[in-house]
């Protein structure tokens, strides 16, 4: 057992290294435990020459180690120097296996059997977990790697991939790309590939059939030697050539390890983080968590936290976090003078959704928020405006315009704007300040994070939003009291895409409200389901049966994964009986729907082919996932001559890269849905963006602001494959010069060959590239403007599938 230290830091990434450097600078006894033989393994494993970005720019770096944007080697080199200069005490090959004891005397046991004692522990182990290692003979050889950053690093090599989960198959497919001329083998211990996604398995099988890789099932590695690998196959041993082994055997997530120390998390879901105090202390006194594990994936945050946590440990109570000045700037415009912590406390105690938020989380949320003072009568936002942020009332009250000269007030402590947050739709009503007020605007990402991290906040937001949604749907005829029984115990159901909620001919009188997602209504006419209409979030259905008492007269199914609120028939009837206005409004809606149904039915008899085509087109559009689109590019292949001017225009309007692939994608009855962004209601790409640079703009466009770190999460999360990871090509010679002298690659995206020639050995950072609907370009989307024949249009599904269309087709 070694000498007891004041603090043991586990993990030598940016957070841990920064913490250890601070401890060394303060003269605290410390030990930095690193499981590998080098510092900062995550960044060490980046591909050679990869550029590491220093975002967010506005945040100051506070650390004894240097960090600025640069290549991987530069950053690692700096850190090695800094660690040496700061005299950091590092223990390499110290993989922590177990932590016992309590504050003042923790015992940390490593896998090798060494035991370190420490008064405090700082956990900075990141979120990657430990990849499972190979276990056969020769498993410690250096040509065994556990991840592939860039398949293009491998050319003309013999590569064996061990492990047949998604990670292994994706790596194998990556390096098996024909142009790389690798000889790729993938090994699977069992007969089938049960753990991988069906798509990956079929891609792999196809690559196998096409001779791009050899797939060996019931085969395991037996012995690794430089250049060779011995396999254990069903028919005996076999020795194959092998320069690189990619081992993807799964990994152990760090959560189990963290929980084994007794540290509590904020919730059971995957996004949950350890519960932390303002000084990063966990629920176990003496153990601190910083960095990615604490929910901060950016390097700069990590380094600052490393510094801060050691200062706190050293008894520095006056230290204000590095973001103090940013927070001060957020509060600067307010009429009262308060310190940052006073403001935070003020908001926390006065706003219901912040009640359960810890002071540390409060800082984080406020950084992504705005606080503003509004004079009486000032408009906060107008009906129909896009916007997905959430507002909370810290002081004063807000007035909602529910109808002409009808307003409802929202009291201090409550929230508004939550509909946009949940359904992604435009603002449903105009909101004004009822008196001089202070409102907090929380960005969508921060609000979602708040809901994930603080169950209390989630409950409050859900309850209020449900109440409001129902109030608005029934046009202000109801009061909060009427909804009390429904909101108290709401029946919220998740409906996967394609699932039938109501079937034609069923008994039942429940009414459903679409909370998020969208539905399609179909009716069986002449033995064929005919599309009647598309219902976006915020619509209700099922009311016809309640009013008429008859069976369901149409089928309603989810166009995309959706959430509906089920209201009991009696509840709905009681509501109608109590409020005649609501009854009238509902009856009017029913009459309108009935009229449309009978219109389509009557057309079916006389113009059956037009109705069929309309219906089939609608089904195709829904099947292509356009039910969640707000604005999609649709190409009429009766008009498209394949000139690709749309792609060229796109590239020339956006730093030389096209954001659409015209030819790819599905087609039905000459209607083609190309690979291009649909600007989903709930953008999948936004779900997990570490620097939070994907936003929804004023025209509903989902765009990326500068600051992408190139992690590729959005690309992987997009189900429609419309995001590319690419570096902008160098500037092209002007169009006139090309036209007159033929110099340069001409209009459109330059060929990779031209780009490569221009760049030479330089390897610019690849970042995510996606359609921004030509945001900021006054002429509008370039793809549509540049189509010579009128084949390309951009529409939302309900614009495209309007009844007017059917009428025109039929007439």
């Amino acid at each position: 057992m070694s000498e007891p230290v004041k603090v043991a830091i586990i993990g030598s990434g940016p957070a841990g290294l920064s913490a250890a450097s601070r401890a060394a600078q303060l003269g605290l006894s410390h030990i930095l435990l690193e499981k590998t033989d080098h510092l900062s393994d995550t960044i060490f494993k980046y591909q050679k020459g990869k550029r590491v970005l220093a975002t967010p720019e506005r945040l100051d770096l506070r650390s004894d180690c240097r960090f600025a944007e640069g290549a991987r080697e530069y950053i690692l080199g700096n850190w090695d120097e800094d660690a040496a200069n700061n005299k950091v005490n590092v223990a390499y090959h110290a993989e922590v296996a177990e932590v016992t004891g309590a504050k003042g005397a923790f015992a940390i046991k490593t896998a090798k059997g060494d035991v370190y004692t420490a008064e405090n522990i700082v956990l900075a182990i990141g979120t990657q977990g430990n990849p499972n290692r190979m276990r056969c003979e020769g498993a410690d050889l250096p040509h065994i790697i556990y991840q592939v950053d860039d398949p293009e690093d491998f050319k003309d090599r013999h590569i064996t991939v061990v492990g047949s989960g998604d990670a292994g198959i994706e790596n194998a497919l990556g390096v098996a790309e024909e142009a790389l001329e690798n000889t790729v083998t993938i090994l699977n211990r069992s007969k089938d590939f049960a753990r991988a996604k069906a798509k990956n398995v079929s891609d792999m099988t196809e690559a196998g059939e096409n001779g791009f890789m050899s797939i060996r099932t019931e085969t395991q590695p037996k012995k690794v030697e430089p250049g060779w690998l011995t396999l254990e196959t069903p028919t005996g041993e076999e020795r194959i050539e092998c320069d690189v082994i990619v081992a993807r055997l799964g990994s152990v997530a760090p959560r189990g390890f963290v929980e084994s120390m007794g540290i509590e998390f904020t919730g059971p879901d995957r996004e949950a983080f350890p519960k932390l105090s303002p000084t990063f202390e966990t629920t176990v006194p003496g153990i601190y968590v910083i960095g990615a594990l604490a929910g901060y994936p950016l390097i700069k945050h990590c380094m600052n936290q490393g510094y801060d946590v050691v200062e706190f440990l050293n008894g520095n109570k006056a230290l204000t976090p590095a973001d103090e000045k940013d927070l001060a700037a957020i509060f600067a415009g307010l009429p009262q003078q308060k310190s940052v912590s006073e403001w935070l406390e003020y908001l926390r105690t006065r706003i219901r959704i912040f009640a359960d938020v810890s002071p540390l989380q409060m800082r984080e949320f406020m950084l992504d928020s705005k606080v503003a003072f509004y004079r009486k009568g000032d408009v906060v936002f107008e009906k129909g405006e896009p916007g997905s942020s959430l507002f909370a009332i810290a002081d004063g009250f807000a007035e909602v315009e529910v109808g002409p000269s009808v307003t409802v007030s929202i009291e201090q402590g409550s929230i508004f704007g939550e509909v946009g947050l949940i359904s992604g739709r435009k603002r449903g009503a105009t909101i004004r300040a009822g008196e001089d007020s202070i409102f907090v605007e929380v960005s969508r990402t921060a609000a979602l994070k708040l809901m994930a991290a603080v169950p209390g906040a989630k409950r409050v937001i859900n309850r209020i939003s449900l109440e409001r949604q129902l109030l608005q749907i029934f046009k202000g005829g109801l009061t909060v009291e009427d909804l009390e029984p429904i909101v108290e115990d709401p029946a919220i159901e998740r409906v996967p895409a394609g699932k039938v909620v109501l079937a034609e001919g069923d008994e039942g009188d429940d009414v459903y409200v679409i909370r998020s997602g969208s539905m399609v209504v179909e009716k069986d006419i002449g033995g064929k389901p005919i599309f009647l209409r598309y219902l976006p979030a915020g619509s209700f259905f099922g009311e016809m049966a309640v009013l008429s008492g008859e069976k369901r007269n149409a089928t309603v199914k989810a166009a995309v994964a959706s959430e509906v609120i089920r209201l009991k028939g009696e509840q709905f009837k009681a509501m109608l009986a109590k409020r005649p206005q609501v009854r009238e409004a509902t009856e009017a809606a029913v009459a309108e729907r009935a009229a449309m149904n009978s219109f389509i039915e009557s057309r079916k008899a006389s113009y059956s082919s037009a109705v069929d085509l309309y219906s089939d087109t609608a089904s195709f559009i829904m099947k292509e996932g356009l039910g969640e689109a707000t604005d999609a590019l649709l190409i009429d292949e009766n008009l498209c001559v394949g000139c690709d001017n749309c792609e060229k225009a796109c590239a020339d309007s956006h730093e030389g890269l096209s954001r659409l692939d015209r030819e790819a994608g599905k087609t039905f009855a000459h209607l083609h849905v190309p690979t291009s962004c649909r600007h989903c209601e709930h953008p999948h790409c936004m779900a997990d963006c570490p620097p939070n640079v994907i936003h929804r703009g004023p025209d509903g466009e989902v765009f990326m602001e500068p600051g992408c770190i190139g992690c590729g999460n959005c690309m992987r999360n997009c189900p429609y494959g419309v995001i590319r990871m690419e570096a902008a090509p160098p500037e092209k010679p002007s169009l006139l010069r090309w036209l007159l002298t033929g110099f340069g690659p001409g209009p459109g995206e330059p060929s990779p060959k031209w780009t490569k020639k221009q760049l030479g050995d330089e390897k610019p950072k690849k970042i995510a590239v996606k359609c921004d609907m030509c945001k900021g370009i006054s002429g509008g989307p370039a793809c549509v403007r540049a189509c010579p024949t009128g084949a390309a249009i951009r529409v939302s599904p309900e614009e495209f599938l309007s009844i007017a269309r059917l009428q025109e087709d039929a007439d």
Binding site: V419, R425, E543, L639, F800, E808
Partner: protein, 293 residues
């Protein structure tokens, strides 16, 4: 409808102008606006030509002839500018479809503008050369309009959701499978298969590309030879024949794709160079008129 948020755009934004809910081709653009304009122009010229009394007779050198000539020359230059407009992605509002529509109909009106400008005096000189070139440009353009209106649907049907890259990839995949499947064949059977493997799907020249006929197709030849052959490993040969059939089908699809694309593009190789020749002849025509008339 009982929708909470009617997602109709409440404000007429800039982008509203390019927002269309339905597809509308360049020929029908804005209710045939340019067809009406250019039709009106032609009618006006034909009628005024009959009514205006020019002595001794209508010709390019009268005030009426000069007017038509100026209109025609200006139109020719403006029509040529489409090539620039199409490639210059400026950020202001314009619609290339509207430009194409105007280009087509005003281009057709040049038949009247140009011909009536001549006063029907044609001869063997540089003036008539300019007129003849103009008519050839218009004719080639007319072909373009016809193929643009009729071929896209065929292109779409033929490719059946495959991209050109995927078609090539499919052929390469069959080649790789053929390569291994052909190993057990007799040398006599192997030779045509190897020739089929060596075949470049793009080869065959312009004539083959446009006609879609490839009489020397090595894959078809290999298929014929192997279907007729009866030596060696019968099972292996049948497998190869099956693969060759699949490859032939994939080749046919690709060739049809290339053929339609070629038909959609070939006229531009006439239309554009002739336009430049026309502009040269037009310059000579104008200069000679002013210097030597």
């Amino acid at each position: 409808m009982a929708s909470l948020f009617p997602r109709r755009r409440t404000k007429a934004t800039q982008t509203e102008r390019v927002r269309e809910r339905r597809h509308e081709g360049f020929l029908r653009y804005a209710g045939f606006r340019w067809a009406k304009i250019s039709g009106g122009l032609c009618l006006f010229i034909i009628v005024s030509y009959a009514l205006v009394d020019v002595t001794p007779r209508h010709n390019g050198g009268s005030w009426y002839g000069y007017t038509l000539g100026t209109i025609g020359a200006a139109l020719i230059l403006w029509l040529t500018a489409l090539g620039y407009r199409k490639r210059k992605m400026t950020s202001d509002y314009w619609s290339l479809k509207a430009w194409t529509s105007a280009h087509v109909y005003l281009g057709l009106s040049l038949i009247v503008v140009g011909t009536w400008h001549t006063g029907f005096q044609l001869g063997w000189n540089v003036h008539t050369l300019a007129w003849a070139l103009m008519m050839l440009v218009i004719l080639s353009g007319l072909y373009g309009v016809i193929v643009y209106a009729t071929l896209p649907a065929a292109l779409s049907n033929n490719r059946d959701e495959m991209t050109q890259m995927q078609m090539l990839e499919a052929i390469r995949a069959f080649d790789r499978q053929l390569h291994s499947a052909a190993q057990p064949l007799t040398p006599a059977d192997t030779a045509p298969v190897l020739a089929a493997l060596d075949e470049d799907p793009f080869a065959g020249g312009v004539a083959a590309r446009l006609s879609g006929r490839y009489p020397n197709c090595a894959t078809a030849a290999a298929l014929r030879t192997l279907s007729a052959s009866n030596g060696g490993d019968c099972e292996a040969r049948e497998k190869v024949v099956g693969l060759l059939k699949q490859k032939e089908a994939a080749l046919t699809r690709l060739r049809r794709h290339l053929r339609i694309r070629a038909l959609l593009e070939i006229w531009l190789y006439v239309h554009v160079p002739l336009t430049f020749a026309l502009i040269a002849a037009l310059s000579a025509h104008i200069i000679s008129v002013f210097f030597y008339w």
